[in-house]
Assembly symmetry: C2
């Protein structure tokens, strides 16, 4: 295990210190780093971050329809189609005609897809555990709660 020097983050010598007062900016910067790291890690198993989200949702909710999936993941139906085409071509998910509505597809994960998804979840967990290692369980919990709270507040404001 690597023992990294743990120094308090000082931003006074950074040119973006003024920007650091904004939650959104800090969020963008933090996610930018996580995204880069996760994208790299997922390359080993040929998965993209967006496809991982799709896999997780289909694993947890078999039979989910595309429209419901897109809405739940906050992505456009149109963009989901291509992801599913790719996942289906790789044999990770399958579309089945939904009974009762011949327009809709019900989505299912394959055994291969399930395996890959669990593997990706492990990669994701390991990565997060690594950069959260000096955060308390309570800190992590309240961070997730706050992020969800903020997401909900902004969304509610728009509608």
């Amino acid at each position: 295990m690597s023992i990294l020097p743990q120094h308090p983050l000082t931003i006074k010598d950074q040119a973006d210190s003024l920007l650091r007062q904004f939650i959104g900016y800090n969020m963008k910067r933090a996610y930018h780093e996580i995204q880069a790291e996760l994208t790299q890690a997922f390359k080993q198993i040929g998965l993209k971050i967006g496809s991982f989200a799709v896999l997780c949702a289909v694993l947890e909710y078999p039979g989910l329809k595309q429209s419901a999936l897109a809405e739940n993941l906050a992505i456009e139906q149109a963009n989901l189609v291509q992801m599913l085409d790719d996942l289906e071509k790789k044999g990770l998910v399958k579309r089945e005609r939904a009974s009762g509505d011949r327009r809709a597809y019900a989505l299912f994960i394959t055994e291969k897809g399930k395996k890959l998804c669990l593997q990706a979840q492990q990669i994701c967990s390991d990565l997060e555990a690594d950069f959260l290692q000096d955060c308390s369980a309570q800190e992590i919990d309240s961070l997730i709660t706050l992020l969800q709270k903020i997401e909900g507040r902004v969304k509610a404001k728009r509608i």
Copy 2:
């Protein structure tokens, strides 16, 4: 007989509950909402989020060089050039040859740029105050601290 869920998901059901255990996913979702809202708000004053960051940095650090700016904002020099072209064309910043290094440009904000930047900061503050209104000052403070801590940890890991 098809294996369909007994109760089809409604809008309020969350198909991504499994994903919600990941900090990165919550961060992406929260920022996605903030970004949409801020992009919309900035359209009134003809500014993009990226350009706003550049303006803020140049306002706070007059004479900053492009290379230093790009590094501090974690963006590529190549992409900064286009932003600066745009900001300069609008009369918001100006490039001046840096004394001592004829390759480099020193960046300065104009009066017009300063005015617009302060206006944008107000828009940003108002927007955040709105969706943070039921968060305590301590919650907000610890959120910022945690985001910066995470950003630093992931970055340190990569290097």
